[in-house]
């Protein structure tokens, strides 16, 4: 009863695995980590199958009733930037603009997606969408395990929010997850000015020069100047060259090295993303 007041559970979900990380607050600081590969779905609705496996793991480890944060892997999410229309009168105008942009970018009907956005009327804003059958499966998971949702958000959004106070203006923040890059660009007003979520080949990120070429190409696509300052939350194994950078035009910074005392908000996501 009221376990959610003092007990937190973080679920990190990717297409291959999930991680449960439980930690209690205040008087008894205990921690429990459960990592499990997702079995192939037996039904057409594979999100339903994933959530059933998570439900079993939660009951098995007596983690029901916790306040829960769900970190969704970027590969399960669609994210894009929307320019707000002029003379916006209501939230419905913004929602219509977001749906139109979604359809133009992906060619799908937005009806099968649950769309949420960082609604802004005066500047471009980021929108995200998760499949509706994932949202329905998560509702069922919360009911079966008596979970109280604290937050459900994409991995790159959570990482950006974690480090947002440290990032200077006009910088690029790069997050990497399972072959996918998320590029968040801040403007001079220190808000998100542009966002790209792309798949990349291993060769494109294997060396510093190749990665700079990729960044310059994306800058052209977003109609932005070439990046001067690039921030990484941590060094992924694919980016080992970050330890010995040579380019003098672009400054690469690793936040976990600059600020070693700041603990990553979602450490379990790395495990889930790697499918350990």
């Amino acid at each position: 009863m009221l376990k959610w007041i003092h007990s937190n559970l973080t679920i990190s979900l990717s297409s291959q695995a999930f991680v449960l990380h439980q930690h209690t607050r205040w008087w008894s600081k205990t921690s429990q980590l459960v990592t499990q590969n997702l079995a192939p779905a037996k039904t057409v609705d594979h999100f339903q199958s994933h959530c059933e496996q998570i439900t079993r793991a939660i009951h098995l480890n007596n983690l029901t009733g916790c306040a829960t944060t769900l970190v969704i892997s970027d590969e399960l999410v669609r994210q894009w930037v929307v320019e707000p229309p002029q003379n916006v009168e209501s939230l419905d105008d913004l929602k219509a603009a977001v749906s139109a942009r979604f359809q133009a970018l992906y060619g799908d009907s937005p009806a099968a997606w649950q769309i949420e956005a960082d609604w802004k009327t005066d500047r471009p804003f980021l929108a995200s969408a998760i499949p509706k059958n994932l949202a329905v499966a998560l509702d069922g998971l919360a009911k079966k395990c008596q979970l109280e949702w604290r937050q459900i958000a994409p991995h790159s959004v959570m990482l950006f929010n974690r480090w947002r106070n440290i990032l200077p203006p006009n910088t690029w923040m790069v997050t990497f997850e399972n072959g996918r890059l998320s590029l968040t660009v801040t403007n001079a007003q220190r808000v998100v000015g542009a966002y790209r979520h792309i798949s990349c080949e291993a060769s494109e990120i294997a060396t510093e020069q190749n990665f700079i070429k990729l960044l310059n190409r994306e800058a052209l696509r977003m109609n932005l100047p070439s990046p001067k300052q690039v921030y990484f939350p941590r060094i992924w194994t694919e980016f080992n060259w970050l330890q010995h950078t040579t380019d003098k035009n672009v400054s690469f910074n690793v936040l976990s090295i600059i600020y070693p005392d700041v603990i990553s908000l979602v450490p379990a996501m790395e495990l889930a993303s790697s499918g350990a």
Binding site: D118, S128, Q151
Partner: protein
């Protein structure tokens, strides 16, 4: 840098509480309770202070009234004392000295001399000091006084031979009660 506010969690009261932070909400409630409690306390203190001030005012008024009464009482007492003194003086003045002296003196022969005559108007006691040539004369005088109807319970309280006089008279003191009120 502003937060990217993207949230897929259903908007429920518990979600809002968790997002705001349970500890901060609890602290806010505690702070609110403290503010309300402080307000109630200040209100109660005000009420008590007001009550005390009113009580103090009432006591002050009562004290003033009592002081006023006391002044009046003192004035009345003083008036009474003055009245009694005046009455006493009037009684003394109205005492028929001449008649009394004549009554006592008439019983004294040429062998007895009346030296002092002290009547008390409150107790009706009369003290007399006299001298007689000898004890027989003193006895005759006392016997003569006993025949007077206006005095009663006559007593010889003291007598001695006055050696300072060449004829050695007997000095004696008498007490007697005046019967009836003094004439006013």
């Amino acid at each position: 840098m502003q937060t990217i506010d993207i949230e897929f969690a259903p908007k429920t009261p518990v979600h809002a509480l968790l997002k705001a932070g349970v500890a901060s909400v609890v602290l806010s409630l505690v702070a609110l309770c403290m503010v309300v409690g402080l307000g109630i306390y200040v209100s109660l203190v005000d009420q008590v202070t007001e009550g005390l001030l009113e009580e103090n005012l009432m006591l002050e008024q009562q004290t003033n009234a009592l002081q006023s009464d006391k002044k009046k009482t003192d004035k009345n007492t003083k008036n009474n004392t003055n009245q009694q003194a005046l009455t006493s003086v009037a009684s003394q003045l109205n005492l028929p000295w001449g008649e009394l002296l004549r009554a006592f003196d008439s019983r004294a022969s040429n062998q007895v001399a009346l030296l002092e005559f002290n009547p008390d108007t409150n107790t009706h006691l009369i003290k007399i000091v006299a001298e007689a040539r000898n004890s027989a004369q003193m006895t005759n005088y006392i016997e003569g006084l006993k025949k007077l109807k206006v005095i009663d319970d006559i007593k010889l309280t003291h007598h001695e031979i006055n050696t300072t006089e060449p004829l050695l008279p007997i000095r004696f003191e008498l007490e007697a009660y005046w019967v009836g009120a003094f004439p006013r």
